[in-house]
């Protein structure tokens, strides 16, 4: 035979042959009959079955006849195909060829419908409802049931976001199994029994899971709905577009649904290698910011101290005048929201149009060693050879450094959990305390005071093939990134850097860093500059070192930088919000490209409105280096004004054309440019890092001395998934499911301070303080306090402190 099936080539020993409705099919050993049928295009109706949940066999809808179980004998009774493992030689007859199967399925549908309300016309699910569809396809026209249907009060808010209409529920337990198996948040459970069985929660503990929206999506009826979408639209009135989520570097595929040019809802897309079929609630529900009155729709220019609406030509002229006046004394702050194409536009704009290397995407605390680490380990790399989601499952051991996946990269969290549940994965986290997320990963927590991570990391036994995930916070611990790279190299473990925002990885690739040109080319390398200059058809690229974001803002504040071009960023995201504001206020000239009013536009001289994520195409590179297509969800009659088009217009007007004005062109040019190969061949862009062996401390940190009710401690912090980020504005139900803002301290520190659970403590940094309730956290490392980075009302940027800094903790502080 010249033709081999794909499966044959993979693992011939593991294949078995079964016959379904007379069609022979080879399937891997262990395949369930319902999956085997799918492989040859036979759809067996089902409700409880979900390929990513453990089989349960509860709804009994998928009954098939098995005249031969492979041993010559058949099953006397029809079998649920969702729990039936294929055996060699098994004969399976579905509803297409078996009266027994057909009768069983019809009967089951009748049972499911006897207590199901006929409210399809007002049900959100109507039109995309598996129950409705299968009743039409496999059911009978009329019910023989003459009783009164079972009813319950409705709906029950099982969280602020998720609503339950119990009488619609078919008790498939997908939601409760999801919460228990996939996300590890069993705040919902089946309660009562028999005909009264229902999905329930404990009234005082709502279903506040970061992943709660998934249960709405997998509900095969309209029993679970979201406050955000309930009664918003009919499925058949929606136009769906596959796109990529803009909220973090996870790169989840989304299905975004719009009606009347408004996004109505977002669903998890099906991307088996990335998010499988899940996403987080932020990605699902946080899409209404900038869709309100603060949306900027027309250019603004500052006149007599105030912004006024201007025409596009007028605004372009004003911007060009300001930028031209600045000469080369300009910098670019791009933030983390940009697509790869837009980021590339800014990178090229800085070098070609403004003639500077002062460009930085890091609208957050950044470490001194970070750029070198990114240059050596991230930039210019591709998916090939990179650590992937799938690799995490099978790595055997994954170590987390400066990274809290449940909060900072929720789909990595889900994938790790899957590995732990199914593949014997072990997770170790170097963290100040055992978080709920760590507990759900059954993780070994190496309780580490901020700053001592290097020693902790070196003390771990990693093996070849293991994975080391470092978060962006790791950059704030001197030497930690370098140590991670070194540990990976010496042990053979694989290293991956997990940034937080969707645009971060693309920004590195596009060269939105002072020391990096596109494709990982060092800006300091003459050959690299010549290479890029040739491609860009310019004489040369600036050779002078650029400033990073903090440097630019400081220079601007001191009057040393004449102009700033700023994409979307928020001052509180930086280490010191006040310094950012000062920089913006004292820069000679600020051009802002934004979609909504912000602290930046308030201080800008010219503001250009740019398109929302759903209005233009592009690409996000996720942490794996995997490109995810961003597609236009809301079609507009004219091409939208994107960052790229605005930059191109400014470049044209400044007489130094950008050369690209559409995402397609930008991507083509970046792809053509390719990635950097050091002609010297040694490609050691990694500078000699100061490996601070002296930091290797083996003694346990002591409880800090408390004097007059005050203690000096190290600050541990990360962003909670649902927090004060502006991208989440406007979605109240989502905000209501956020975790509370708490200050975590060890029991010993609490005792030393004399505070009890829930008492207020004040956290003071360089530029301020705020007060939070205390959460006494057993197992928390001594000498540290943990607070969320940007929860509503308490953004750390206002205190001027970052992870690892010393802060003062004191009792009380209620205002």
């Amino acid at each position: 035979m010249s033709v081999q099936t794909k499966a044959d080539q993979v693992a011939p020993v593991d294949l078995i042959t079964v016959t379904i409705d007379g069609v022979e099919v080879q399937v891997p050993k262990g395949t369930l009959a319902i999956r085997a049928a799918e492989m040859i295009g036979i759809a067996i109706p089902r409700f409880c079955d979900h390929p990513l949940l453990d089989p349960v066999g509860a709804c009994r809808q998928c009954m098939v006849e098995v005249p031969d179980a492979g041993n010559g004998r058949g099953f006397p009774k029809p079998q649920a195909s969702c729990t039936l493992e294929c055996a060699p030689g098994m004969q399976i007859k579905t509803q297409h060829t078996s009266d027994v199967a057909r009768k069983a399925q019809k009967g089951m549908l009748e049972f499911l419908l006897i207590n199901h309300p006929l409210d399809c016309p007002i049900c959100d699910k109507g039109g995309e409802c598996p129950l409705q569809n299968q009743a039409m396809a496999n059911g009978q026209g009329e019910s023989r049931y003459e009783g009164v249907k079972r009813t319950f009060p409705k709906p029950v808010a099982i969280s602020a976001q998720i609503l339950l209409d119990r009488e619609r529920c078919v008790l498939c337990a997908r939601c409760t199994r999801f919460s228990e198996q996939i996300s590890g948040d069993p705040f919902i459970a089946l309660v009562e029994r028999g005909a009264l069985q229902q999905v329930g929660r404990y009234a005082d503990d709502p279903y506040n899971s970061y992943f709660s929206g998934n249960v709405v999506q997998i509900c095969p009826v309209g029993a679970l709905t979201s406050a955000a979408y309930r009664f918003q639209s009919r499925p058949f009135d929606l136009v769906s577009t596959t796109t990529t989520c803009e909220h973090c570097a996870g790169g989840c595929q989304l299905r975004t649904d719009q009606r009347h040019f408004q996004v109505k809802r977002r669903l998890a897309g099906e991307a088996p290698e990335v998010n499988e079929e899940w996403n987080c609630d932020k990605g699902r529900f946080a899409f209404v910011s900038a869709r309100g009155e603060d949306r900027i729709t027309r250019p603004l220019i500052r006149e007599d101290g105030a912004l006024r609406v201007a025409s596009w030509p007028e605004a372009v002229d004003a911007a060009v005048a300001g930028l031209a006046a600045a000469g080369g004394s300009a910098g670019v702050l791009t933030g983390g929201r940009l697509t790869l194409e837009d980021a590339y536009g800014y990178s090229k704009f800085a070098r070609v149009v403004l003639g500077t290397n002062s460009i930085d995407f890091r609208s957050r605390p950044a470490g001194a060693d970070e750029e070198a680490f990114l240059a050596a380990n991230v930039a210019g790399k591709s998916l090939a050879g990179a650590v992937t989601y799938t690799d995490l499952e099978t790595a055997g051991h994954v170590v987390l450094v400066g990274f809290e996946p449940e909060d900072e990269s929720p789909l990595i969290f889900l994938r790790l959990r899957k590995g732990v549940r199914k593949k014997g994965l072990k997770v170790t986290t170097i963290a100040p305390f055992a978080s709920d997320g760590s507990a759900k990963l059954n993780a070994t927590v190496v309780a580490t005071v901020p700053g001592a991570e290097v020693a902790a990391l070196r003390g771990l036994g990693l093996a070849a093939g293991n994975v080391l995930l470092v978060g962006e916070r790791a950059a704030l611990v001197p030497g930690l990134l370098a140590a991670a790279a070194e540990v990976a190299e010496t042990t053979g473990a694989r290293l991956a850097w997990v940034p937080r925002r969707a645009g971060d990885r693309g920004a590195v690739e596009a060269g939105c860093l002072p020391g990096l040109l596109p494709g990982g080319r060092p800006a300091t390398d003459t050959a690299a500059r010549v290479d890029v200059a040739a491609a860009w058809e310019v004489d040369s690229l600036p050779a002078e070192d650029g400033m990073d974001a903090t440097g630019m803002l400081a220079a601007a504040a001191a009057g040393e930088l004449k102009a700033l071009v700023v994409a979307g960023l928020e001052p509180v995201d930086f280490a010191d919000a006040a310094a950012v504001r000062a920089g913006l206020e004292n820069a000679g000239f600020v051009v802002a490209l934004e979609s909504r009013l912000s602290e930046v536009t308030e201080r800008a001289d010219v503001v250009f409105p740019v398109a929302l994520i759903e209005e233009h195409p592009g690409t996000f590179l996720n942490w794996e280096h995997r490109p995810g297509r961003v597609n236009t969800v809301i079609p507009q009659s004219a091409a939208p004004m994107t960052d790229l088009r605005v930059l191109a217009a400014l470049a044209d007007a400044l007489g130094r054309p950008l050369g690209v004005r559409t995402p397609k062109q930008a991507l083509a040019e970046l792809t053509e440019l390719g990635t950097w190969t050091d002609p010297a061949g040694v490609a050691d862009a990694r500078p000699a890092e100061p490996v601070r062996k002296s930091r290797t401390r083996t003694v346990a940190p002591k409880v800090p001395k408390v004097t007059d009710g005050e203690a000096i401690v190290k600050l541990a912090t990360w962003r909670q998934l649902i927090d004060g980020g502006r991208g989440q504005d406007g979605e109240g139900a989502l905000a209501d499911t956020a975790r509370p803002s708490l200050a975590r301290v060890s029991p010993a520190l609490a005792q030393a301070l004399g505070v009890a659970e829930g008492d207020a403590v004040a956290v003071s940094g360089g530029s301020g303080w705020y007060s939070l309730p205390v959460a006494i956290t057993p197992g928390m490392v001594e000498g540290a306090v943990w607070v969320p980075t940007n929860s509503p009302g308490t953004p750390l940027g206002e205190l001027g402190v970052v992870f690892g800094d010393e802060v003062t903790l004191s009792v009380g502080g209620e205002e």
């Binding site: 079972r150 319950f152 069993p186 705040f187 459970a189 309660v191 009264l196 329930g200 404990y202 009234a203």
Partner: protein, 239 residues
């Protein structure tokens, strides 16, 4: 009359009574809950006994009881609630001092259980799943209690009250109401439902030696065999 009346609206189902937050669970209870959890290779196995203990302390499954079990076992309150609402012996609302059950599964019902339930219900002035205003009695129609050879069967605080008749039932209720000593036909002196729940939780009350070894019906076959000289074969006979 068949009893389990058809009902389509289940307004109060789904959870315990969250409006009654009273509790008598104290540190001693917590330590007994932890003791129960420690009796099993995996602590969660103790959940059923722990809920029995909660009932013995709070007279029902209280919200505080659910929270205490969740805390001791490290599981969610929803998971505890799912268990507490699954099993029929767990009560949502305070029961009476004496919990009276009348079996109305087929055989007992046919042999007089239905009539017994009606009589008991009339006498107490309450229906199934209700408690008398003075808190002395609560009533439940129970399913088969594994005493069919003593049908019709009633239970008081889960003690057997065999071979019931309406007259005997009235006498029983009168005696209990008057605080007279009442003995189970195959069990101990009747104490209270809460004390029974404590035993079910796994804290014996030392009354195992009360009552007979067996009822007459249980011994019937043996007595007929004795009368006829029938025995099992002697082992030697086989060789």
């Amino acid at each position: 009359m068949s009893g389990h009346e058809f009902q389509s609206f289940f307004g109060e189902s789904g959870e315990v009574d969250m409006s009654d937050t009273t509790t008598s669970i104290d540190e001693a209870t917590m330590s007994e809950l932890r003791e129960l959890a420690g009796r099993y290779p995996q602590p969660r196995s103790a959940l059923l006994p722990m809920l029995h203990l909660v009932q013995s302390v709070d007279g029902r499954i209280s919200p505080a009881g659910i929270e205490a079990c969740a805390e001791v076992l490290g599981i969610t309150t929803a998971q505890v609630s799912g268990v507490a609402t699954f099993y029929t012996m767990y009560r949502r609302r305070p029961g009476g001092k004496h919990h009276v059950g009348v079996c109305t599964t087929a055989l007992c019902a046919v042999m007089g259980g239905d009539a017994l339930l009606e009589r008991v219900s009339e006498k107490l002035g309450i229906g199934p799943d209700e408690t008398t205003p003075d808190g002395t009695f609560s009533l439940e129609r129970i399913e088969c209690n594994a005493a069919c050879d003593f049908a019709p069967v009633m239970m008081v605080n889960w003690e057997f009250m065999d071979n019931m008749t309406p007259q005997k039932a009235e006498q029983l209720l009168d005696d209990l109401a008057a605080g007279r000593e009442v003995h189970s036909t195959r069990g101990a002196t009747i104490t209270s439902w809460r004390e029974a729940e404590r035993v079910l939780a796994g804290f014996p009350d030392g009354r195992a030696d009360e009552g007979p070894s067996a009822g007459r019906a249980s011994l019937l076959g043996k007595s007929i065999a004795d009368a006829n000289g029938w025995t099992a074969p002697k082992p030697e006979e086989q060789k």
